[in-house]
């Protein structure tokens, strides 16, 4: 599978931080310009009179630039450089926490989870769409041959295991030609390589689990494929050894959906073509006159049970026919341009007129915990799309059994299909219309589409399909190719949704790379997906923990850390700006360079780093109330308005620190170094309390970092104060002996923190967010009530009357049914001639839930 070049991924949060940094930069430029102009004006009017400053009467023109550049230098700390370093550090730790998490270790294979990409953990908390592969991801990919249908006779229907079906055993032992041929195809029509172990057991090395299952089953039924040497295949059937010479292998591709083998039966010299493949790739090419209805029924029946089906067929080739075709095949194989397509075309020429023998049904069990995981994550407001190469019915059955879609009265499944472009278009329009109507209902509406229709939809009706994608919370796409998977991811991404793609096989690699977050299951289909992915986990059920625990914590922590970094930089910068108003707008720095550097690098970055250990809610609470993830998805904790709060806080704190230090240290105490240390101490104390206030759970490390840092501040400054060469010689000792210093610090802390505490308490108690409510419930041991529906706001129930439309009785428990919308008077009135009314629909779709608007249209 072609992997393509993965682009570096950027989290939504990083994008937001970049945006905020940009805003701060603009603010900085404005401040610099205003202060620069003010400084020049002051210089010309006032400073010229101040003889002690000794401004030259006339200077070169560029002296005008000096003051603005000075301010630029002062304000350059406004953008915290340390944020990048801090973020990289904590992101590395988030990834390590994922690696270390023993609850995400697959105990069967003892594979731990692994975060390959250490930079995107926050995105996990903001996932809105999960696109999942089916085989190997939702299921175990442990294929077991369960049933088969040979020439219209069903085996294994009674006991659910064809291998134990007496009738089949009997048919085989009695040498029924169809059954034997069926078994032969099962045994050799594949690319399996048998190896003999020392004990005499035969081990099979198969690329695909299905082939392995078939060969195993055949061996069980006494058709043992035991040796492959060069082109010679040797099969032991009831003690007789049969030899076949492989002439050509027509390989499986996801487009062809079948594989064939051309071989010579060494017993009688006949040339045979053996084929196996998906029903739609085999049955249409059946020999004219053969009744395939039986097989279609069998396939449907098996698909209903969630079994994977393969059709087996064969035919005999004439020598001349083979020779002629063989030349073409060789030629096609040696072309340089479009080889894949040419080969497929040549294969097509021989794979027809087939004698269909029967259908195999292979069971692939669901992994442990898949339904629960999907249910929890859906409650968390995450939409699921299943993208599979399997048959529609199989996919739907699996979807039903793992809570993907709800059964009849609660859910509704709309199908988009059609053989021609026109049919697909009409089907799509109809589904879209239903979807628009039913968005107002608390109903699980899903749509199912197959690869064929998807091709049309993606290429010709992209807009309509995109709208559909936005409207529906669940979708099943069957028979899709790897590139279509990637295209679907692309569509959702283009609407600014955070997508997570999870898969296990090579065919998921492109989707995984395309998605915002790629998760690979390190499973049976090799490590291809896991290697390409950002995260690899052992089992699907770990996804719950990955998103709800790790993703959510990472988001929360980064939200705090990044905004705090801006806060502390702004705080010190605002003080500098205020100071410039009392220093003749000349751009004097209140703080010395050592303090400024240590402030950013040391004093303020250490306490906040331990916020990686902060947990606002316990893991158990989050898992119980997955709806809380909505706060992360909607970006409630880091957005311009929360940032404005932090901006205001830093402004307020700067005012407090500045006013108190210049008033407390006025007149005879207004020594520059002392005032600067008082202000700096105030900043350090305030930031320690801000971190403490915003910390939800204090571990020993937090206490150590927050209060230890405060002690460290004094220790460092005492050291500097002990060095005669430093500018702050004796300053800190002098200050610490003055009661007025401690009173000033006390005043600053109280004045700075009490309004913040008051506001926080007020919100916490009287305007609690859901997080606060759960915190209260969790910590006070109160009753943890179960939370209601997922929607943050009630969707306006405008069109209740249409609910009757969807209730159409499905025939013979087929979950796929389409409400006959065009017959409904309601629907025709509503559609009012413009089936693709994007404008209207867009505003409607954005109404109920603000995050659901497509920014693409």
């Amino acid at each position: 599978m072609s992997r393509g070049i993965p682009e570096p991924k950027l989290t939504a949060m990083d994008a937001m931080i970049d945006k905020l940094t940009g805003a701060i930069f603009v603010f900085q430029i404005v401040v610099v310009m205003v202060l620069g102009i003010a400084g020049n004006v002051w210089k010309d009017t006032e400073a010229k009179k101040q003889w002690y400053v000794l401004y030259p009467d006339k200077g070169p023109w560029y002296e005008l630039l000096i003051i603005p550049l000075r301010f630029e230098l002062l304000c350059s700390i406004m953008i915290p450089i340390s944020i990048k370093v801090s973020l990289d550090l904590v992101k590395g730790l988030y990834a390590k926490f994922i690696d270390w998490d023993h609850r995400m270790v697959d105990l069967e294979t003892s594979t731990p989870s692994n975060a390959t990409n250490t930079a995107i953990s926050e995105d996990l908390g903001q996932v809105e769409y999960i696109l999942t592969d089916k085989t190997g991801t939702l299921t175990e990919n442990k294929m077991i041959f369960r049933r088969c249908c040979i020439s219209g006779i069903f085996y294994g229907n009674e006991n659910g295991d064809a291998l134990k079906d007496v009738e089949l055993l009997h048919a085989v032992s009695s040498g029924s030609p169809d059954a034997v041929q069926f078994l032969t195809i099962m045994a050799i029509c594949n690319t399996v390589i048998p190896t003999q172990s020392k004990t005499g057991d035969i081990l099979y090395k198969a690329q695909s689990q299905d082939e392995d299952a078939l060969v195993q089953a055949a061996a069980h039924l006494h058709m043992v494929f035991f040796n492959k040497s060069g082109n010679i295949l040797e099969v032991k059937f009831n003690s007789s050894i049969l030899q076949y010479e492989v002439l050509e292998t027509l390989e499986f591709t996801s487009d062809r959906k079948r594989m064939s083998l051309v071989l010579r039966d060494c017993q009688n010299g006949k040339i045979l073509l053996l084929s196996k493949g998906a029903d739609e790739a085999i049955l249409p090419y059946a020999r004219t006159g053969q009744q395939t209805r039986n097989f279609i029924e069998a396939v449907e029946q098996y698909a209903h049970l969630g079994l994977r089906t393969l059709c087996l067929a064969w035919r005999e080739l004439r020598e001349d026919e083979y020779q002629e075709w063989s030349l073409m095949f060789k030629e096609a194989n040696s072309t340089l341009v479009d080889r894949e397509w040419r080969v497929a075309e040549v294969c097509q020429r021989i794979e027809h007129n087939l004698e269909v023998l029967g259908v195999t049904a292979i069971e692939d069990r669901l992994q442990d915990g898949v339904p629960e995981t999907i249910e929890t994550l859906r409650k968390a407001g995450i939409n699921f799309w299943m993208l599979t190469g399997d048959k529609q019915n199989t996919a739907i059955q699996i979807a039903l059994s793992c809570n993907f879609i709800s059964p009849e009265p609660k859910g509704q499944l709309l199908s988009i299909d059609g053989k021609t472009e026109d049919e697909v278009r009409r089907s799509l329009e109809r589904v879209l219309l239903t979807m628009r109507i039913t968005t107002s209902e608390p109903k699980d509406v899903a749509f199912v589409i197959d690869g064929w229709a998807l091709d049309f939809a993606l290429n010709h009706y992209r807009k309509a399909f995109t709208e559909l994608a936005i409207l529906s919370r669940t979708a099943i796409c069957c028979r899709v190719t790897p590139s279509q998977k990637a295209q679907l991811v692309q569509i959702l991404k283009s609407c600014d949704y955070r997508t997570l793609a999870i898969g296990d096989g090579g065919n998921d690699v492109r989707m995984i790379q395309q998605a915002d977050i790629g998760v690979g299951i390190s499973g049976r289909e090799g490590l291809q997906a896991a290697r390409a992915a950002d995260y690899s986990i052992g089992k699907f059920r770990f996804l719950k923990r990955l998103i709800l625990v790790h993703g959510r914590y990472s988001y929360n922590r980064t939200a705090f850390l990044s905004q705090y970094s801006f806060y502390k930089s702004l705080l010190i910068c605002f003080i500098q700006i205020f100071f410039s108003f009392i220093s003749g707008v000349s751009g004097t720095s209140l703080f010395n360079s050592v303090s400024l550097m240590a402030y950013n690098v040391f004093y303020t970055s250490v306490p906040v780093l331990v916020s990686v250990l902060d947990k606002d809610l316990s893991e158990e609470t989050v898992i119980q109330h997955p709806q809380i993830l909505f706060y992360c998805q909607a970006g409630r904790l880091l957005n311009p308005s929360t940032f404005a709060g932090w901006f205001g806080r830093s402004l307020f704190h700067a005012v407090v620190v500045f006013l108190i230090s210049i008033h407390a240290y006025a007149y005879d105490k207004s020594e520059m170094e002392e005032v600067s240390m008082v202000a700096l101490s105030g900043c350090i104390w305030l930031q320690a309390f801000v971190v403490a206030m915003e910390t939800n759970s204090f571990t020993i490390l937090q206490h150590l970092a927050i209060w230890g840092n405060l002690a460290g501040f004094y220790a460092i400054n005492w050291i500097f104060s002990a060095l005669p060469a430093s500018g702050m010689y004796t300053i800190m000792f002098r200050l610490c002996r003055q009661p007025s210093y401690w009173i000033s610090i006390f005043l600053m802390t109280a004045a700075g923190m009490s309004p913040i505490l008051a506001i926080k308490y007020f919100r916490y108690t009287y305007r609690p967010s859901k997080i606060n409510t759960l915190q209260q419930a969790e910590r006070l041991g109160g009753p943890i009530v179960s939370l209601g529906t997922i929607e943050p706001q009630p969707r306006p129930l405008i069109e209740k009357d249409v609910s009757t439309l969807s209730i159409t009785q499905p025939k013979n428990r087929n979950p796929v049914y389409e409400p006959l919308l065009s017959d409904s008077p309601n629907a025709t009135r509503r559609s009012s001639g413009t089936p693709f009314d994007f404008f209207q629909s867009q505003s409607r779709s954005s109404l109920p839930n603000y995050s659901r608007n497509c920014k693409d249209n």
Partner: protein, 348 residues
């Protein structure tokens, strides 16, 4: 903070139940599993209201104490920059200060409002004087002050690093503009003894200004700034200069001139003979003479008291408001009423 009400949760207890792995304990393991025992404080009404009440109870007395300390300080402030100009020259102050032929002598009479206990600190105060101007604060060379001319790098002293090709010691704007008004005090017929020693920081005298560094080429240029220095006194003994060179952070500042080491009684009249040399007229600055006693908090400064009282009352009021809110509108925590996901959440 109300850490006291936190519940200490030890979730680590149930982690070793995983089969197939050796049971792991220890702080490192707990850290890796993000399971370190943590204390989770809750903002309960009781703790918050109590915190605010406590802050009120701390700050209001603190305010009263500091106000008392500030009020115990007796302070005499006399602005003399205008009064010391002869009436006829008041319209042209610049001429008065720049013309050397005009006598700068001036007498001021200060009445002591309350008895003042020694030591009485004498400050001169300058208003609207920007010692914190960027050009000004940087214009000095600490190395030169300590080691003299050994280091010839006086570039930091711009724009006054040298005069007539010879370097200046002490160089720079700050030293150049040293304050040079002088004051003499007498009470009744006797002269008051003013101690002018030890007015600068001891650390400055010992470690920042050299004992064998003498002023050189100082105030010899065409531009005369402030006062002159005695070229035969080492810098470490030039305490007025040392005091001056501790630049002030605010445009209004006081600098110590000396100490009167005897008590003054109420209603005493102090006669101050001063030399009004320093030019604060060109930029509209004010010059004041301040006599002040001191308290444990320093000089007279009502700010601590007022701010403490303000914060104290604010905290009290907040705690009362919250108390009323809580009594009128008690909110059980974790109530189902407030957990409905359908309610629009207002806080972000």
């Amino acid at each position: 903070m109300d850490l006291d009400s936190g519940t200490s949760s030890t979730v680590g207890a149930r982690v070793q139940a995983i089969p197939g792995r050796p049971a792991q304990h220890g702080a490192l393991y707990q850290f890796k599993q993000q399971n370190l025992p943590a204390c989770k404080p809750v903002l309960t009404p009781a703790t918050v209201i109590a915190t605010f009440l406590l802050m009120g109870f701390i700050f209001i007395p603190l305010g009263l104490i500091t106000l008392r300390a500030s009020n115990s300080v007796v302070e005499i402030v006399d602005r003399y920059d205008i009064e010391c100009i002869p009436e006829e020259l008041r319209s042209n102050k610049l001429l008065y200060i720049t013309d050397d032929s005009i006598s700068k002598n001036c007498s001021r009479f200060l009445k002591v409002p309350k008895s003042m206990r020694a030591p009485i600190y004498i400050y001169y105060q300058l208003d609207n004087y920007y010692q914190n101007h960027r050009r000004y604060v940087k214009s000095r060379n600490d190395k030169q002050l300590l080691h003299g001319l050994g280091d010839n790098s006086t570039s930091s002293c711009k724009p006054l690093e040298s005069s007539g090709d010879l370097p200046i010691v002490p160089c720079g704007l700050i030293a150049w503009s040293v304050f040079n008004d002088t004051f003499k005090f007498s009470s009744g017929s006797s002269e008051l003894k003013v101690n002018r020693k030890n007015i600068a920081w001891k650390s400055d005298r010992n470690h920042k200004f050299g004992k064998d560094v003498y002023p050189f080429n100082f105030q010899n240029g065409p531009l005369i700034g402030g006062g002159k220095l005695d070229p035969n006194t080492p810098l470490s003994d030039q305490e007025d200069l040392i005091v001056w060179m501790r630049t002030a952070a605010l445009p209004s500042f006081r600098k110590l001139y000396g100490r009167i080491e005897e008590d003054l009684d109420a209603d005493d009249v102090i006669v101050v003979q001063l030399m009004n040399n320093y030019n604060a007229y060109s930029f509209g600055g004010k010059k004041k003479l301040v006599l002040s006693t001191s308290s444990w908090l320093g000089g007279k400064n009502d700010f601590f008291g007022v701010a403490s009282l303000f914060i104290g009352t604010f905290c009290m009021m907040i705690s009362i408001v919250f108390l009323l809110l809580h009594v009128k509108n008690p909110r059980p925590y974790g109530d189902a009423m407030y957990t409905s996901w359908n309610k629009k959440s207002s806080s972000s």
